[in-house]
Each structure stands twice: as C-alpha cells, then as structure tokens.
Symmetry: C2
Subunit: 483 residues, 2 copies
C-alpha cells in the first residue's frame, strides 16, 4: 500500500515554502506600489493556508518515506507548485487564460523558460519577480533532486558518479541529504549573489540584475525584457551571463570542491572535461560559420553571439542575444543538435546531460571492440572506474525513451497543426527544458500561438524532461502500482 | 595479418557473377536492337576479364576466409560492383557525370532506389534492365548476408533469432551457408516469377513486369517509369505490388517455412506478428487521416494510397503511387517516423529493422521494472526465450549509432546548402535504403539537384545502412587493424 498520508504531509510542508516566496514577491510589489500586491498577497495566504490544513490532517503520520512515495512526491510537487504558483497571474489579470498561466508557471518551475508573454515589460515588478523566483526555486529543487533524491531512486544512473550522494541505505539518507542540501544551496545562493553584483556593476539595474541572476543560475532563461538578453547590448553583461550560464551547467558538487580549492578533483572529472570540450567545439564551429556570414563584420561579435547562444542552448538556459534560426541551414541544424545535449549531471541544466552522452559514445565505440573480440568482457570506464553494465543499459534506455518521447511529441504537435520544424522545435525546447526552439518557437518568437492542447502537452513534456523521464513514466507503469 | 590474397580471390570470383548479369542485360539490348548494346557488352567483357585476371593471380590461395577478411569482402564487394556496374551508363552516355552514374548504381545495389534520372523512360531497355538487376542482385546478396554472413561476424544481434543460420563454428559454415543460400535464393526467384506473372496478367507489359518484380522483391524501388508505380492507375497492379513489397519485408526463412506449410513456426515468430501490427497500425492511422483530406473522395483510394505508401516506406522499397509530402504536417511527420523502422531481419528491407525496434521497446519498458525491483534480474524475452544482455547492448548501440549517423548526415547535408527538412530526408532515405525522403527529395522529386559531394556522401550512407553500420564502421576502428 502506498502511504498517501505521508505524501500529503510532505507536500503540505512544501506549500509553506512556496507561500513564503510568493509573500516575498508581494513585498516586492509593495515596494513598487503596483497593482499586483493583492494578487500576490492573497495567493500567498491561500498557499500557506492550504499547506497548514494539509499538515494539520497529516501531522501525526511519522512513518519513513518509502521509495514509491518518493516517486510520487517528486512528481507531484512540481504540479502542485505550478497550480498554486499560477494563481497570481490569473487574479491580477495579466495572463487571462488559465492554460497560459499554468504553462508560464510550470515553464518557470521546470526551468524551461518557454513563455507565452507578448509584452514582458508590461508585467508589474512583483509578478516579474515571482516569475523569476519560480525558476530559481526550480533550479534549487533540481540540484537537490538530481544529487540526492533521484540517485536514491535509481533514476539517471548517476549513483556512481556523484561523490557527495548518500548511498541507498534508507536509515542514512536523511541526515546526509540535509548536509548535502545545505552546502549546495549555499553555493547556489553565493553564485546568484555574485552574478547579481557583477550585472549591477555592469550597468544593469538592480531589480533586473537580481532577476537575471535567478534565472541564469537555474538555467531557466526567463528575462524581464521581451527581447531577452539582446536588450542589453553591453558585451560585458553578455559575457558575465555567459560565464554564469556555464557555471550553472556544471555539477554543483564540483563547485563545492572548487570553493574548497580541491582543483585536482575537478580536472579528474571526465564529465567536466568533456563539458568544456563540447562547449568549446560548438562555439568554435559556430563562430567560424558565423564570421563567414555577411551580416557579421566583426569577429568578436561572431564569437560573442556564438558563445552566448551555444552556452545558452547546451546548458538549456534559453537566453538569447541573437536569433540562430536566421543563420542558415547549417547553423540551424547545429543548434538543433545542441538542444539534445544538456548540462552536466547534478547541475540545474536539463536535457540528456553530458554524462549520458559520454557513456553512450563510449559504449558505442566499445561495441566495435566487442565485435572484434567477442569473448572478452569489455566494460565502459568513467572517471577511471569500470561502469556496471546495468547503468549502461539504463543510460541507453533513457536516451531511447528520450528520443521516443521527442518523436511522439513532434507527431502530436504536427497533429495540432504545427509545421514539422516548429513541431520538432517546440517538443525539444520543452522536453529539454530549454525554452526557445526552432521554427515558430525560435528565440525571436514565443509559445503564445500554440493551441491550448499543445500547451498542456508541452507542460507535461517539461515535467518529464525535468524529472529525467523515468520518474514520471514509472507512475504510468502497472508494475509500480501493484503488489 | 590480413590475408588480402583470399579477399581478392573472392572478389574476383564475384566479378564473374556481375559480368554474367551485365551480359544478360546486353542480350536484352540485342533483343530490342537499341543503342546500349555496345556499352553493356564491352562492360561485361571488362568485368569478366578483371575477374579472370584477379582470379589467375590468386587462385593458389587455399586458406580459409577469416573473420576480418569477411568484414572486408562484405564491405568491398558493393563498392567494386558499383564501380563496374556504373560503366555502361557512362559509355552509353545516358548518365554523363561519373558521380551520377556511381550514385545511381550503388543506389541500385544497396536496394535504396534513390535516383538522379530526370527522364527514366528515355533509357534504352538494356540499361533499364541492368538498373533493375542491380537491385535484384543487391537484394539477393542482402538475404545471404543478413542470414548467413553477418550473424557469423556478430553483426546485428540476429544470431539467436534466425533458425536456419549456421553457428559460429568455422568448419561448419561452408556447407550450411551453401544449403541455406540455395533454398533462400530459390524462394526469392520463385516470388519474383510469381510477381512478374501477376503483374503481366494485370496488363503491365512483360518487360515492365519483370523489372518491377525485380525491384519489388529487392525492396529496391527502381521503376521503369519516371512517375514510379503512380504510372499504373490500376488498383489491381498497385495491390499486387503492395502484397509483394510486404512479402519482401518478411524474414525469408519464414517464407521457407510457409512453403513447407509449417504455419505454426510463422505465427510463433514475434517479429512477424509485430511487423504486421506495425504495418496495420500505420495504414489505419494514415487512411483515417487521409480520408479526412478534402482531395480524397473515396475511402478505397485513401486506403489504397495509405497501404501502398506505408508498406513501401516501412519495407524501405520506395515505390510511390502518391506524394505523402503534400498530405499535411501530421502525415509528413508520420511518414518520416516510418522511415526509421525498416523491414524484418533476414528480409531484403533496410532500415533499423522491426526486430531491433521491438527489442528496444521491450528493454525500455523493462527498465521500469528494474527500477522498481532493483535487485531482480529482469531479462528481455523474444520468441519466448531470454535474450542475452550483450545482444541488447548491441542492439541499443546499433540504434544509437544509427541516430548519430543520421544526425551527422543531416548536419553535413545542411552544410552543403540543403534546408533542414531536405537534409533530414536525403539522409534517412539513403541510410535507411528507402529511396525517396521528404523535402526536396520527396517521392515527386529525385536526387539530381544534390551537390556532387552530397551524392558521394549519400552513397556512403547507403552502403553503411545496407551493411548494418558496424560492418563498415568497424573497418575505421584502429582495433580492427592492429594485432
């Protein structure tokens, strides 16, 4: 039997947290004296009250959280947060359609950054702040989830690679998760503050600096400007954001080692090395191709637009300073390919993740050796250790599922009337938690025109992508519910 | 050391075979008294003479053919055949560019069916016949390769599934391969004759009936008409071809059981069952969607166009009676997805193959069970037997490689200036040995406009697809050449 009481207890407690952040946004609104104060403060009350009622009914439940309960909590929390989080947009009236409000909110929490807003500057500061906070919370949640909870559930095959992760012995989980979480959140907050200061220093106003820092560190990509980061023509600002997007795509345990000046551990990390190699290679190819483009007279501009867009897409942030869909077929395909990579494991980035791509390529290459030496046992090695075959199977199954979901999603979006390019773009932009895609949902456009059914479907894809597919899909498997 | 002498001996002997079939085409030319007699007869001489000279220099080599030699022979034979096979088109002048002539010929031998001809009816009968023969020989070669040679080399993970296949004990291979080959070729020839008669009976002229039978059974798709099978408006002819395309996509050992009236063995074959389910499902979806199209007033026409195109694409034949690229985004994506499926293992069809797709889906589904029961050993079952995990890894690695090659191919074609849709279409149409793709290389167009570099690249993709990727790729791995 699944213990629903404990599930509700945890969800109730988490609602307090959400209510607190909505309350913070209400304070921002108060400072600016704008029209969204009522919407935010009332939602904050509703959220905290709902959490309180749930907690009152379930507080006596003291049993441990089992594995199956964890799957359900981890999946439900994003939906519940989005349900409550979308209320301020509705009450205030700035997003009149409920579908749109939910889409905008879950796109925030999943750090996707796909927006339906046609005039972002029109939004009052409180709502803008809340919109950025959804991403920041989502990123924070993701770090905790990917480094502590998911490995415990066997999802993602990351168990072996994350030094700081608690082992699968249930009694040891609680204290170590707490310890890990504390450190990682401290780093996350520290980086956010550092970026805020650097952006502010570069001439961005404080409010926008905070918001962009929130959404950069979450690899979210919500901007307070309709034109995204292209609004800021300062190369300094663009490079600062590029650097922090890069950081946000790194495994946060490595950042922890960096702060402890343990650089050896960082360079020994294969995923990190390849993350850099991948970013550098795509930047190089993109900037060479772009410098041949007659619209680009300066190589610095070609380089800057390339590195910004490459880092933004690969880390799945989704900020834009230029529109790669206008750069010709070759770069369009190149950027589309990048959408399938994603950040490092244990970062706030979405997508398939560098580690999985690496294991995939290594295993595929070794398949040749296996064919030539059919009787030898040839294992994939990662960080100099042999990787269990069951993890390889899991990684391969993940990627296969990812592609199946992508293909099915494209078919569904085409069924709703999108052309093939836009259907592929909208699907991968949502599934990979990127934000902008290609076609009608490229960086110069948004998701407003997508039919409602498509918006709900894409919301589901965002959730699936954020939860590493299996966490959500397992809930639909009969094997999960029986016994 | 690799024994190149034995490689050349085998290739020399195979050149006799090719020379013989070019000679047959010369006889066809003689019957029609057309301008291609000289080109065909002189090429026949050149080919036989080259085979003879090679054989004279290598005839004393009596050693057994090793595994590495087999890889090289199996890869080289298609290239050598295409080099010689393209000569008649050049000498006759009907295909003036050598790139085009090679493309057309390797597209024939690999049973792809992608053409560069803008006016097929203009070709004399001898060359048309030779063009069809390339496909028929390619199909015949493929059956032998996929059922006898490749499993012996560990390629394709088909070792377990093909009852008639010789085991990996080297001393037993020769007699059993010969036996297997004889039976399968008898069936292949029988089906070809049966189709010829049925088409002739339906009003197609004898020459065209023979040619279409050749290219149907090979899942090749070369037609003697520029308009492909759409030239024949008779529903009877279209249904006959549909049926034989279906047959050609079935594992030929099953056809053998069918002729022995052993129907139980057929229904017990999971791949066959799912092959039918897949074809039926796509036909159903396509015909429902098509019957809603205002251009279709008759449901029979919607059904016929659907079943013909679905069977043609999934079996990778590539005949066309209608242009699915004009049927709207949904059907376009649907047909594009079908291009990744392919025929059954041990058929003449290309693509990923139903068996691999099945193992992939089964393994992915079982990954949930593995997550829920992490300590249980959960194996994929196929035809009621447990499948070794190493075969699953091989299948997954294959599919991953397939996708990598597809993506890299698309990028390269986009680099040559094709738009994203055409780049994807040309790549999968070649890699999957289908023929027509989407975009600028859809069923109503051809490959003439592709730049030369693209034609050579696509030729290479056809070869890779035909040889189940690994056979070709392994030759590029350092591990293959050392020791």
């Amino acid at each position: 039997m699944i213990n629903f009481k404990i599930i509700f207890k945890v969800l109730g407690l988490l609602l307090f947290l959400e209510g607190f952040f909505i309350f913070l946004s209400a304070i921002v609104s108060l400072i600016y004296g704008e029209s969204d104060f009522f919407a935010l403060s009332i939602t904050s009350l509703i959220t905290v009250a709902s959490g309180l009622v749930t907690w009152l009914f379930t507080r006596n439940e003291k049993s441990k959280i089992g594995k199956r309960e964890s799957y359900i909590i981890v999946s439900l929390v994003w939906i519940i947060f989005s349900l409550f989080g979308s209320i301020p947009f509705i009450i205030h009236g700035s997003i009149p359609s409920y579908t749109d409000a939910f889409f905008e909110t879950i796109s925030g929490f999943t750090t996707t950054g796909a927006s339906i807003l046609n005039n972002i500057e029109e939004l009052p500061h409180g709502l803008l702040f809340w919109r950025s906070i959804t991403q920041w919370l989502g990123g924070m949640g993701m770090i905790l989830m990917s480094l502590a909870i998911l490995p415990m559930l066997g999802i993602g095959g990351m168990q072996l690679f994350v030094a700081e992760v608690p082992g699968p012995t249930p009694d040891k989980i609680h204290p170590r998760v707490k310890e890990t979480a504390k450190r990682l959140w401290a780093i996350y907050t520290l980086f956010t503050i550092a970026e805020t200061i650097l952006l502010w220093f570069g001439g961005m106003d404080l409010f926008d600096s905070i918001n962009h820092a929130f959404t950069t560190m979450a690899t979210g990509g919500y901007s307070t400007k309709q034109a995204s980061v292209a609004f800021y023509t300062s190369p300094y600002i663009q490079y600062v954001i590029t650097f922090f997007m890069f950081l946000a795509g790194v495994n946060f345990t490595l950042a922890y080692f960096a702060l402890k000046l343990n650089y050896k551990k960082i360079w020994q990390n294969e995923e990190f090395r390849y993350y850099i190699i991948i970013l550098a290679s795509f930047t190089l190819i993109s900037s060479i191709a772009l410098s041949l483009n007659k619209d680009y007279t300066s190589y610095e501009k070609a380089f800057r637009d390339s590195i910004f867009q490459v880092v933004s897409i690969i880390t799945t942030t989704g900020f834009a300073t230029a529109d790669y869909t206008t750069w010709g077929a070759f770069l369009l395909v190149l950027y589309f390919i990048m959408m399938f990579i994603g950040g490092s494991a244990g970062s706030t980035g979405g997508g398939i993740k560098v580690m999985r791509i690496l294991l995939l390529l290594k295993n595929s290459y070794l398949e040749f050796k296996r064919l030539i030496h059919p009787h030898a046992i040839i294992l994939v090695r990662f960080n100099k250790r042999a990787v269990n075959q069951s993890i390889i199977t899991n990684v391969l199954a993940f990627i296969v599922f990812y592609i199946i979901v992508f293909v099915a999603g494209t078919l569904f979006m085409a069924f709703l009337g999108l052309d093939i390019e836009s259907a592929m773009g909208a699907t991968i932009a949502s599934l990979g938690n990127i934000g902008p895609g290609i076609g009608a949902v490229g960086p110069a456009n948004n998701f407003f025109q997508i039919p409602d059914a498509g918006k709900w479907f894409l919301s589901f894809l965002m959730l699936m992508g954020r939860l590493e597919l299996f966490t959500v899909l397992i809930l639909f498997s009969p094997a999960f519910w029986k016994k």
